[in-house]
Symmetry: C2
Subunit: 121 residues, 2 copies
């Protein structure tokens, strides 16, 4: 039960983290960096990851905190440089939840197909 | 540009709608009903869809409003009976956004595999 509650709480935070265009933008940049890094572990400085969003620094800090609390990004502090890396698991879990819904819909569509096939006999 | 902004706003609302266990619970019930209905359009009364959640009626109303504003559920009013039906598109769009991230990660893993394959020669 505790694990179930923790999983629910993690899903709450992940979906909430995805619910703002600036947070999605930061995540997209980190994912693009991972892709471009061609298999090496990839991170970005906070400056690179948050550049050019038209909001204040405190607003950026709040968005980063929401992403970190969801476990969607990890921050590595190296002296005065803060680096960010994307964590994949929370997105996998969110995606799995939606996929389970979609499986239920697909069962529905399978039933429609079966009905049409039987009718066509 | 307006369409892009609208799409972003819709994603914001869909992810926010998914960010609470009661809202996910309501959505799961509606999806299960669709699945069980075997291809017929399926809906539930508000009472059926929201029964047994240990929160007040006003709290349930707020959760339903968040889901409706996201376009994730539709409400059909038939006299004194309010019926709810799941809308699939917002979930498809949210799922597509996560899938695009995952494609970026997969490119990364492809690169790892290629590296390992070349090293193994």
């Amino acid at each position: 039960m505790a694990n179930q509650a923790t999983a629910e709480r993690t899903l709450d935070r992940t979906f909430a983290a995805c619910a703002h265009p600036i947070r999605r933008g930061i995540v997209e940049r980190l994912a693009a960096r991972e892709s471009a890094a061609g298999g090496r572990a990839a991170d970005m400085t906070v400056g690179e990851a948050t550049r050019d969003f038209a909001v204040s620094k405190p607003a950026i800090s709040r968005h980063l905190r929401v992403l970190e609390e969801a476990g969607a990004i990890e921050r590595v502090i190296d002296g005065r440089t803060h680096r960010l890396r994307l964590a994949e698991q929370p997105f996998e879990d969110a995606s799995d939840w939606i996929a389970r819904l979609q499986q239920m819909w697909e069962r529905k569509f399978d039933a429609v197909e079966q009905y049409l096939a039987e009718r066509g006999r």
